[in-house]
């Protein structure tokens, strides 16, 4: 039975349990709501939760573990040469799965009758053609082992599906029965319901933790795989990046890291002065009218998707820099360059610097400004010598956050910086970054057992660690700074 149907049945049962429990609660109190601990609807909700929640959780767990279980069982039936290495087992299992899926699709659409199915068991060579006619394409011809495994796969899957259906509906009904039995006027239904809701709330807030854990795990395992095939010393200290298909790649992170830092540096060189001066002007000089239109307009820059900046770099800024700066100065003829990506990225992070600095400058107490102005300092002297030093830690935090933003930025560098890994100083040359290489190693046809693909996970982990370190440090500084004036 399809999962959706089971879920609907469970929910329908829960709805019925709600109505029954509510009615029986009212009946047990002879219709006098005041004699019950909780409002009647809470008895209903209690029944609803007890019916639906355990059943749906069971179904979810089953759906997660069933494929793993089936995979294990089928893999043990495959011939020994297919399961010799992890790669060959994965390939064999992929074949089995696609044959099984193909058969399932063909049979459910009626293109192949179950009787025909029997015939294929003896002669699998015609299966591919027959499935092809039925609109299911297979990668290669089907061997009898694969077909047998696929048949076992289907049989096991359907048995387990049936078991799951029975179990899930059984749990739902049992839950409904227990809930209905509990309905008495002195049962604290509201508290029971609220406990469950609280559990759900806690679960929702723990999703952030799960996300972090899965980010770390998804990258750590594949990174370990990578380091098993490629020495970590060469990765972290190698100065050449030249992935080659089928071995002998040189996968040193240094040129990528250099490109990343160089571009981020230029971006900060653009964004920090502009963002800081904009923040100073807006918070210290601008009239309310100017502030009310300039501030949102600058923040629009932060709301524009990065792909837009990427295209801007590619079609406007890149050619402009090439034709008017790089070529006349004899510095290169590349449209994509460190400068292109850095400038555009700098524009993108202006609002990150300016909004946070604006907040921070505003939180410097007015009494300090008064003290300085009262001594006859000009506004700019007050800002430079009193406000900015007082706000410095917070501004450093803002700049670090912007830096982490720049280091992790992808689309601008994919479209603006180029793909050539290079260790150089010429800002008008194309260079590449960690994020660009993650994209290029993980898009298109990928083989998750070759170091050329797995390196992307090691790059991702490095990127994650760098940005996380910057963020934690920056948030710590900003938080410390805020405490100072609270």
């Amino acid at each position: 039975m399809p999962v959706l149907w089971i879920a609907l049945i469970v929910l329908a049962a829960a709805a019925i349990a709600y109505v029954l429990a509510r009615r029986s609660a009212l009946a047990s109190a002879q219709g006098d709501v005041r004699r019950m601990h909780s409002l009647p609807s809470y008895y209903g909700w209690h029944a609803f939760i007890l019916t639906a929640l355990p059943a749906l959780l069971l179904m979810l767990a089953w759906l997660i573990f069933q494929p793993l279980f089936i995979e294990n069982r089928i893999a043990s039936q495959l011939p020994a040469e297919a399961t010799a290495t992890a790669t060959s087992q994965q390939l064999a299992m992929r074949d089995v799965r696609s044959v099984a899926d193909g058969l399932q699709a063909a049979i459910s659409s009626g293109a192949i009758t179950p009787e025909e199915m029997e015939a294929f068991t003896n002669d699998p060579s015609t299966l591919r053609a027959r499935l092809g006619e039925a609109g299911v394409a297979l990668g290669g011809n089907v061997t009898s082992e694969t077909l047998e495994a696929a048949q076992n796969f289907r049989a096991l899957a359907s048995t387990m599906n049936l078991t799951m259906t029975v179990l899930v509906i059984g749990v739902a009904l049992a839950g409904a029965a227990i809930a209905l039995k509990q309905v008495r006027p002195d049962f604290w239904a509201r508290n029971a319901v609220e406990r469950t809701v609280m559990g759900l709330l806690i679960f929702a807030s723990a999703i952030a933790i799960f996300t972090t854990i899965s980010i770390v795990f998804s990258m750590v395992f594949e990174t370990m795989n990578f380091f098993r095939q490629y020495p970590w010393q060469s990765f972290f200290f190698g100065t050449t990046w030249s992935p080659v298909f089928h071995g002998n790649s040189q996968l040193g992170i240094v040129p990528l890291l250099w490109g990343t830092l160089y571009i981020s540096f230029i971006a900060l060189l653009v964004a920090v002065p502009i963002g800081l001066f904009a923040a100073i002007y807006l918070s210290e000089y601008a009239s309310n009218r100017v502030r009310s239109f300039a501030k949102p307009l600058i923040e629009v820059l932060a709301g524009i998707p990065t792909i837009v900046y990427g295209l801007f770099a590619l079609v406007t800024v890149g050619p402009l820099l090439r034709d008017y700066f790089a070529q006349p100065l004899g510095l290169g003829s590349s449209g994509t360059s460190v400068m292109t990506a850095g400038l555009v990225m700098g524009v993108m992070i202006i609002p990150f610097v300016s909004s946070l600095s604006d907040d921070i400058i505003n939180s410097v107490p007015q009494s300090l400004r008064d003290g300085s102005l009262g001594l006859g300092a000009t506004k700019s002297e007050t800002i430079r010598q009193v406000v900015l030093p007082a706000a410095l830690p917070g501004i450093v935090g803002a700049v670090l956050l912007a830096a982490s933003r720049a280091i992790g930025e992808t689309m601008i560098v994919v479209l603006g910086a180029g793909a050539a890994a290079r260790l150089g100083l010429n800002p008008f040359e194309a260079m590449t970054t960690i994020t660009v290489k993650i994209v290029s190693q993980l898009t298109g046809d990928t083989d998750f057992n070759s170091p050329e693909t797995l390196v992307a996970f090691a790059l991702g982990l490095t990127l994650f660690v760098i940005t996380l370190g910057l963020n934690i440090f920056a948030l710590y500084i900003v938080r410390k700074y805020r405490e100072q004036y609270e």
Binding site: S287, D370, S372, L373, G374, L375, G376, A377, E381, V386
Partner: protein, 265 residues
């Protein structure tokens, strides 16, 4: 603090330092100060008293144009310092404030060292030519503020690390360091404990030998203790201005009397 002892009244016959005539202040649509006429004399402490919101601080801030920093405030009338109108278009408020220093309600030392706090004014106004001269100014200012002995060993530790009373005396030293001609003090003791208050009051009395001092206070006892002249403000009006002794012992206006006897406020 029921001590209503009146300070020695050796009102000097010295010349007028600041003369205010017909001063009005509007904050947007609020009429905060109405038609104030007052003369601040050299070598005197002038106290502004009155219930909160009466306009005394507003008037004080007019005297060195600190109201300029509030966009909505509009000041009319004339305020003359040594015969020059400080609201004249040619007057640079920066130059004015160097002559008319200010100490604020809450101690507001800059987040810098004690030394840098005091040296800030002389530095921005370019009052000294050498490091030695600056050291000298810092030392004399701290001595004038009766703080030197407490901080001379830690001049380079942060000013924010001092106690409240010390911080306020540091702010006074900071104001004194630019050698102003008038010193404005906006409730300088309201955030301090009684002992620190006594120290600051003593200091104020010493300072009046060098500048005209104007102090806003919500404490009548304090006004009585430190000032020679007292002005009573009420609802934006200057109700009465005169010798401190006369205001406290023989007020002419019934409103002054009610306030002093504790019926307004």
């Amino acid at each position: 603090m029921n001590d209503m002892r009146i300070a020695e009244r050796d009102v000097s016959t010295s010349e007028t330092k600041i003369a205010a005539r017909g001063v009005q202040v509007h904050y947007g649509t609020t009429h905060a100060l109405k038609d104030v006429d007052i003369d601040i004399l050299n070598g005197n402490v002038t106290a502004f008293i009155g219930p909160s919101g009466c306009g005394k601080s507003t008037f004080l801030r007019c005297l060195n144009r600190m109201n300029d920093t509030i966009a909505a405030a509009k000041v009319t009338g004339s305020i003359k310092l040594d015969g020059e109108d400080i609201y004249d278009a040619k007057v640079d408020p920066v130059q004015l404030r160097a002559k008319v220093g200010m100490v604020f309600q809450k101690p507001n030392p800059f987040p810098k060292s004690i030394y840098d706090n005091v040296a800030y004014g002389p530095k921005i106004h370019g009052l000294t030519r050498s490091k030695a001269e600056l050291d000298n100014v810092v030392e004399t200012s701290l001595k004038k503020a009766a703080l030197w002995n407490e901080v001379k060993d830690r001049l380079h530790s942060p000013g924010t690390g001092l106690s409240g009373g010390q911080q306020q005396r540091l702010c006074i030293a900071r104001a004194v360091a630019t050698s102003p001609e008038v010193l404005l003090m906006d409730e300088p003791c309201s955030a301090l404990d009684p002992i620190a208050t006594a120290q600051v009051e003593e200091l104020i009395d010493e300072l009046r030998g060098q500048f005209a001092v104007v102090i806003v206070t919500h404490s009548m006892q304090q006004a009585a203790r430190v000032s020679q002249k007292t002005a009573f403000f009420h609802l934006g009006n200057l109700v009465e201005f005169g010798e401190t002794g006369q205001i406290f012992t023989n007020p002419r206006d019934p409103r002054t009397e009610s306030y002093i006897s504790g019926r307004i406020g």
